[in-house]
Symmetry: D2
Subunit: 331 residues, 4 copies
């Protein structure tokens, strides 16, 4: 697969490195709003920097990876679909439902392989948990507990542009919940507080949140988010069922244990998402290429982006109106 | 302390054994609705069986431990207060707020040392967590996650008489939440399902529940209950704050680890509450005796029973009316 | 069982407390070389202090627990046997083989229930490991790794009187090895250093030692001892076999885990042997009483004391002569 | 660095893949005794297959990685030195001391960057442990415990050609011991049994072994090897000192934990050395290139190969002569 990368920022660089190591993908071109960022990255991986527009006109390019800023996602996605290129788009497609739905319609009219960057589905821990649940290891799934905490809060100005905690951060957990619960979620109840940085509160957002989801059959799911876990990137899921419990525990850098003062000490959880999800990013590319080759849907697609966004919208409304929100209300 | 035990059932027997091992308490008498149960237990520990009424008339008896059936608690409690005897009362005082409040008024008029059987406050794990939080180990407490699951569901007929999951089972978690959050809880939101035993649903109760509590300053607390954890008695608390996280993990019978098929295997959590909380029951008696001697309040008192019941009432209303309930509504 | 305790020191007090809690044993008398120590302990547990000699003349006394100083053990043991009293003797019977063998001959001539204080056989961790090995959990046992470290070294003067590390400290591990290997040990190789306290070296002993044992069929066992583990009482055993591995890990006071600086921190191992082996001491008394009632041998008997001492003698000789010593050489 | 690979077998393939991913090394050529194996591997990584001899005549080649069969190592090593090429040689240089010493003399006369494939020094677990010990985390190092078990025994015919367990398998542990003890080892005592495969015994080797090393200052080191750990590749090191203990625990594929029947279950240790040491192989290449660039010695060099072999020789002699062997005896 000859793939062009749009976006040479932090996440774009991660993808460039992953692609460079993959025997199945060639990095055909790099594009960025900042031309010199594209140049630098292209040079590093021995490819060329071009205008985004040129990508869509190049018949030698099979696929596009959209890692540019959020407001550009939907446009590029539609452009890729219309020019028949496979597309791997970083989440979210857009910050509002209307624009997201529009993009999905274009995809419907111009069907291409379209993967959405819900990287956690590709994480070995969570994929292993999903598989074990699917294999019936815990019998009937009854409750799900998702704890997801960032190591440090973003600047308040980022918060304003991001769409808020539910659309920007918890959206990953909503996707995990949908994927693992494996049946329609019908109700969302959100609680939130600003306990870490008052500037986040002034920007109209929360930095600490708990959400409860309920499915049609009565399964319950708890999601807990914090913008600041001083000990690192806290990423855990617990699935509880009639025949047992599965827990995806945090990863650590080493398995060293020190015993002495102040006790039995092991590593803190990995600090940064790029480090924690390195394998997931690699698996994500592999899945995208395989889906394109085999003409099958990728593990996470555009529709999953829409549905996770609906849950975020419902959470936002629940928080504002201080009541449980039926998912049906969100269209 | 010369103590009389009212109730020779399961929990009464636990207390009798604990008292027998305590150098500070003498089991002065045993009473039970079933006279022969009282006789048997009294004989086992070398004491006498008497009528409950006789206890309150006996000036040589310093204290009463009420472990009889729930509907009798409030009466015996009042009787103890009026006859000037210290009292350790199993939870709950009563299943409704009115009766509980009435009993508290009697206690106010006739002040005696009155401890309530919230045994988990005396558990070394949870007491250690409480102490570490109080010592500032995790900085400012932000969120609390309480997971509490019984090994096996009770018969549906028990459920009807018990007051339901919130008043009977989650009441312990409400007390833990109050104790650890250490500031007024202002809002309660409950979710519940019947996933384990349809008979429980037919009896009007849930067997799986998630509750979110919020305090005045914005601290959030999640409580998850299930009536059936096939692997044992699952009792965990996680306190998260600005400077770290504390987790009280499950206890196991041994620290043996087997490595082979099917992996690295350690013991399941302890199965039964008597085994899991053996030390807590012992510490509870010690605290009761010490409180009586030192004329100080015990670690958990009648007021704590009332407040935990208010949270249970709020949860019940929240579940029925499908909305967050302000604790102010519950009087 | 009416039992008399000889020795009101540290270990005597532990036994007194355990006996006091046991419904099956009555502490009939306490004796000590220091009469007032005996008085104090007797008073504490509501019994009488008497001369040791009087114990053996008292027909109402069924059993004797010998917890006096080591040089007196063999005499009291023989006295008990000759007067037909069951006896639980702290290890060792004597510090030399000749005296030990002599005591065993008296026991042969005057058979009474005789238990030796190898408390670790009664520890739930090690007993669980033994049971699992016996159940075939790890297939054929191939190697055994015993790590045993004290929290702090004894004063050098103690070392001289104790018979040295092999006879005083590693003797417990030799017993564990014999019990778990479950076939004749044929060869002993010892290595030792003085790394902790030079005074121990000056007293002619080592404070750090490694011993390798080999059985007739080729099973190998490694024992590692240190007189000082700054983090507590380190007591671990690993049994490795054709179908897996079993590890008895250290016990900790709680199961609390803190995550933050400096990492994920759990309790240090329990510090003191009395705390670590509290349950073992209790089980030991139970086994002694049961053996006496059922007229069966206790879990550890006088013969086990002799055989562990032979291993210690072999280790001592191996260390001095810097060569492997065949157990046959030690008689 | 333009590097040629000699040996296209299992370990050669691992190195080829690692080199392919490294931005600092170009795989310039592949050579193998079996020309088609070289062709296949060369083709896979877009390079050419050539005769080994041609490598040493090619001035464009900077370095050679020797991953051919053991008997060819020393010859190729000398050839590389004489032609001024940096060399990374798989262990061992040779199976006997004489040939190894000879090769070292050639290296002395023709100094080139020469790294030896003791991959474990590059493992993040063991490197982390080494660093922590060097940082004084455990105070003065007193004892070292190395447990190293292969998942499955090799065929008996392999055993004959390999030089035996001490030279082939424990050689890695001898290197770890030298590296971590960080002072001269003066004495070696070996014990061995054939417990797994009688054919190994018939071939004159053992499959289960324990070795004790002592250093000049009295530090003790225990090494335990087994050719068959049914649960995977068991690779652990415990360093014990005056201020604490450090343990490098086994790595597992995931951090998933299942709780239910038969207990709390986590993954078995990783099964295969390529998987367990993937990161180590990658770090090894990085260190080799950096050493070559910076003209500094690599983390493990030819001298380390010689010294580890001397320990293996001492162990072999100790086993045969059933006595401790002073390292001075081995020249």
């Amino acid at each position: 697969m000859r793939l062009a990368l749009i976006g040479a920022g932090r996440i774009g660089k991660v993808h460039a490195q992953t692609i460079d190591r993959s025997p199945d993908v060639t990095l055909a071109a790099v594009s960025d709003f900042h031309a010199d960022a594209a140049e630098t990255l292209a040079h590093q991986y021995g490819t060329r920097a071009i205008e985004a527009e040129a990508i869509f006109e190049d018949d030698d390019i099979d696929a596009v990876l959209i890692a540019s800023s959020t407001p550009t996602h939907a446009d590029y996605l539609e452009r890729a679909a219309r020019t028949g290129k496979a597309v791997l788009c970083e989440k979210p497609i857009a910050l509002d439902l209307a624009r997201t739905t529009e993009a999905l319609r274009v995809l419907e009219a111009h069907p291409v392989t379209c993967a959405l960057g819900f990287n956690r589905r590709h994480d070995p821990q969570f994929a292993g948990l999903k598989q074990a649940v699917a294999d019936g290891r815990i019998g009937d799934l009854e409750t799900l507990t998702i704890i997801s905490r960032d190591p440090a809060p973003p600047p308040a100005e980022y918060v304003s542009a991001s769409g808020g905690l539910f659309r920007d951060m918890m959206i990953h957990d909503f996707d995990m919940a949908r994927w693992l619960l494996d049946e329609p979620i019908v109700q969302v109840q959100a609680h939130g507080s600003c306990l870490i940085d008052p500037a986040i509160g002034e920007a109209g957002d929360v930095d600490t949140a708990m959400v409860t989801l309920a499915t049609a059959s009565g399964r319950l799911c708890h999601i807990s988010n914090s913008r600041r876990a001083c000990y690192g990137y806290d990423q855990r899921i617990e699935a509880f069922g009639s025949a047992g419990m599965l827990q995806a525990q945090n990863e650590t850098e080493t398995r060293l244990r020190f015993t002495g003062e102040p006790g039995q000490v092991e590593d803190k959880p990995k600090w940064f998402f790029l480090e924690r999800y390195a394998q997931a990013y690699s698996n994500e590319i592999d899945d995208f290429v395989a889906a394109w080759k085999e003409q099958r849907p990728p593990l996470a697609g555009a529709h999953d982006g829409l549905e996770a966004l609906r849950l975020a919208e419902a959470a936002q409304r629940s928080l504002q109106e201080r009541r449980p929100v039926a998912l049906d209300e969100i269209r």
